[in-house]
C-alpha cells in the first residue's frame, strides 16, 4: 500500500495539470484583488454616500480578511471543484487511455488498494489546493489590503442572519478550520470523479460528467421550482464547510453535514471499488 501511495504521489507531482491548477488559482487571486480594490475604492469614496446615508462598507470593513473570505467563497463553488474533478477524473481513465492500467492490474496488488491509493492522492491534491489558496489570499490580503476584524452582514455571502463580527485572531483560526472542512466537502466531488473515471475510459469524459453532475445539481438547487428537492442534493450538504465562518460555529449542524458528506464519499468509493473489481480491462 505504501509503495502504491509513493508511486501515485510521484505521478501527481510529475503531472503538469497539478502545477497548472495552482497557477490558475494565483490568476484568480490577482483578478479578485483587482475587483476588490476597485469595488472598495468606489464604495468608500464620495459617490457611495451620495445616494444613501448609511453603509457598512467602510474602510474598516474592507480588509485583508474580508478579501480572503470573499475570494474563498467565490472560488469554492466553481473553481476548486473543477480542479478536483480533473485530478480525480484522470486517475483511472488516463491509465486506461494510455494502456498502463492493464499492466498495473497484472501486478500482485488488489484493485481496491489501487483505488484507495489513487483517492488518497487526490484528497492530498484537494487539501494542498485549498490550503495554498487560503494561505495565498491571506498573504495577499495582508500585504495589499491590510488587516482588521472580519465583519459579517446578512445578505451578501449569506453567512449570517444578523450582523456579526469575528476578531482577527479568531478569524485566522477560522480560515484554518475552513481548509479542513472545505477539503472534506471537496472529497465528495473527488469520489464522484473517481467513480466516473472507472466507468468511462476517457479522462475528459470522466471529468466532464462529474462537473456536469455537480453543476446541474448546484444550479437546479437554486431554482425555486426545485426548492423541495434541494435537501437531497449532495451540493447542498457540501455547503456545510462555510459554517466555520459564522460568529458562533453551529457545531452540531457542522458535524451532521460533515458526516453526510463522509457517507457520500465512503459510499461512492465503495461503489467505485465494487465496479472496478468487476471491470474487464480491455485497453
Amino acid at each position: 500500500m505504501f509503495t502504491l501511495l509513493k508511486l501515485e504521489l510521484e505521478k501527481l507531482f510529475r503531472a503538469r495539470s497539478f502545477y497548472l491548477s495552482f497557477i490558475v488559482l494565483i490568476g484568480f487571486v490577482v483578478l479578485m484583488l483587482w475587483g476588490f480594490y476597485t469595488y472598495a475604492a468606489r464604495k468608500t469614496g464620495g459617490e457611495a454616500v451620495e445616494q444613501f446615508k448609511y453603509t457598512y462598507e467602510s474602510k474598516q470593513y474592507f480588509n485583508g480578511l474580508t478579501f480572503a473570505l470573499y475570494s474563498l467563497l467565490f472560488s469554492f463553488t466553481l473553481l476548486l471543484p473543477i480542479f478536483v474533478s480533473m485530478s480525480a477524473g484522470s486517475q483511472i481513465a488516463s491509465e486506461a487511455r494510455s494502456g498502463t492500467l492493464r499492466m498495473i492490474c497484472t501486478r500482485p496488488i488488489s484493485r481496491a488498494s489501487l483505488i484507495l491509493s489513487k483517492f488518497m492522492v487526490t484528497a492530498l491534491h484537494a487539501g494542498l489546493l485549498l490550503t495554498f489558496f487560503i494561505g495565498l489570499n491571506l498573504i495577499v490580503g495582508l500585504i495589499f489590503v491590510g488587516w482588521g476584524n472580519l465583519e459579517l452582514y446578512p445578505g451578501p455571502l449569506n453567512l449570517v442572519d444578523a450582523p456579526g463580527k469575528i476578531m482577527r485572531d479568531d478569524a485566522l483560526m477560522r480560515f484554518g478550520y475552513a481548509a479542513l472542512s472545505g477539503t472534506w466537502a471537496l472529497l465528495v466531488i473527488a469520489a464522484l470523479a473517481l467513480l466516473c473515471s472507472v466507468i468511462f475510459d476517457s479522462p475528459v469524459q470522466a471529468t466532464v460528467m462529474t462537473i456536469a453532475a455537480y453543476l446541474t445539481l448546484y444550479i437546479v438547487g437554486r431554482v425555486e421550482f426545485f426548492e423541495h428537492l434541494r435537501p437531497y442534493f449532495f451540493t447542498t450538504d457540501m455547503e456545510f464547510w462555510r459554517d466555520v465562518f459564522k460568529p458562533e460555529i453551529p457545531w452540531q449542524n457542522l458535524w451532521h453535514y460533515a458526516c453526510v458528506c463522509g457517507a457520500y464519499t465512503a459510499g461512492l468509493l465503495l461503489a467505485t471499488v465494487l465496479i472496478f473489481e468487476r471491470k474487464d480491462i480491455v485497453t
Binding site: 467563497l73 488498494s113 484507495l116 445578505g155 465503495l270
Partner: protein
C-alpha cells in the same frame, strides 16, 4: 477485502454520525420568563393579496376573518398593511366592537394604506413621511409610552427599500429618545441565509444595508418565527428596542390567511 470492509464501516459510521448530529426540530414558539417591567403584544399583517390577483389590496370580504384573528389573539396594537383606505379601517373597527382605536396613513405615491389599531383609548396617531410614501405611528401607554409604526417598503425595488428605511430610521431615532419604539410591517427584505448563494447582487446588498441599518438600534424580535409569506419568504418584521428583555411568544400564525392572501400575521410579545 479489508479495503471494502473499511469503506463499509466508514459508510455506516458516517450515516450513524449524521443521524446522531441531526438537528432537533425547533419549536416556532418560544416562551421565557422575564423580570422586565412591562410587556406588549404586537401583531403585524399585510392583508393584501398575491401578485396574480387583479386587485392586490385587502378585500372587504376578508375583514371579518382579520377581525376574528385580532379578537382571538388580543394584541395591544396591530400594524396592518395594504388596506384600500379609511372605509376598510372603519369596517374593521366596527367588527372589533369598539375594542380598538385606529387610523390609516396618509396617501402617498401608492394606492394602498398602512394602518395601526390600538387597544388604548388614549392612543394618538401620527403620519410618518418617508420619501414619497407615508408610514403611520401610533403612540399609546402600556407601563410607559410606546410608539408602534406600521411600515410597508417597496416590493419591487431594493434601492427604494433602502431609501425608505433610511428615511424611516431618521424619524424613529428622534422618537426613540422619549418613547419605546417598535417598528412593524412588510419590509420585503430578501435576506434568508438558507437561500445560499454566492452571487453578490446589488439588490441583496441594498437589503443587507437596510436591515443592518435597522439592527444598529433595534432588535429583530420575530427572527425565530420563520417565514411570514408564501414561497418561504420572511419579509414581515417587528423590530423592538435592543435593550428589551426576553421575548415572550413569537409566532407566525399560518392558519390565519384567507382568500388569496400571501402573508401571514406575525405576533410578538415583547418585554422591556
Amino acid at each position: 477485502m479489508w479495503v471494502k470492509l473499511i469503506l463499509l464501516i466508514l459508510f455506516c459510521l458516517m450515516i450513524a454520525g449524521a443521524v446522531h448530529f441531526a438537528k432537533p426540530r425547533e419549536s416556532e414558539e418560544r416562551s421565557s420568563s422575564s423580570n422586565s417591567s412591562g410587556s406588549v403584544r404586537l401583531l403585524t399583517w399585510n392583508i393584501g393579496y398575491a401578485e396574480l390577483e387583479d386587485d392586490t389590496r385587502a378585500h372587504d370580504k376578508d375583514l371579518p376573518a382579520v377581525a376574528e384573528l385580532i379578537r382571538r389573539e388580543s394584541p395591544d396594537a396591530v400594524a396592518l398593511q395594504e388596506l384600500t383606505g379609511k372605509a376598510q379601517l372603519n369596517t374593521l373597527l366596527k367588527l372589533l366592537n369598539g375594542e380598538y382605536r385606529g387610523a390609516v396613513a396618509q396617501q402617498g405615491r401608492g394606492d394602498r394604506f398602512e394602518a395601526v389599531l390600538v387597544k388604548d383609548t388614549g392612543a394618538t396617531f401620527t403620519p410618518v413621511p418617508v420619501g414619497e410614501r407615508y408610514a403611520l405611528a401610533a403612540s399609546f401607554r402600556s407601563h410607559s409610552e410606546i410608539v408602534l409604526i406600521s411600515a410597508h417598503a417597496d416590493a419591487f425595488n431594493a434601492s427604494r427599500r433602502r431609501a425608505y428605511t433610511e428615511a424611516l430610521m431618521d424619524w424613529v431615532e428622534t422618537r426613540a429618545q422619549s418613547a419605546t419604539v417598535f417598528i412593524a410591517g412588510d419590509f420585503n427584505f430578501e435576506l434568508k441565509a438558507a437561500n445560499e448563494t454566492n452571487l453578490y447582487t446589488d439588490n441583496l446588498k441594498h437589503d443587507s444595508e437596510s436591515y443592518s441599518h435597522i439592527l444598529r438600534s433595534f432588535r429583530d424580535l420575530g427572527r425565530t418565527a420563520g417565514d411570514t409569506a408564501i414561497n418561504d419568504r420572511r419579509i414581515d418584521y417587528i423590530f423592538g428596542p435592543t435593550q428589551s428583555g426576553n421575548v415572550g411568544r413569537v409566532a407566525v400564525l399560518r392558519d390565519a390567511a384567507v382568500g388569496r392572501m400571501d402573508h401571514w400575521p406575525l405576533l410578538v410579545e415583547a418585554r422591556f
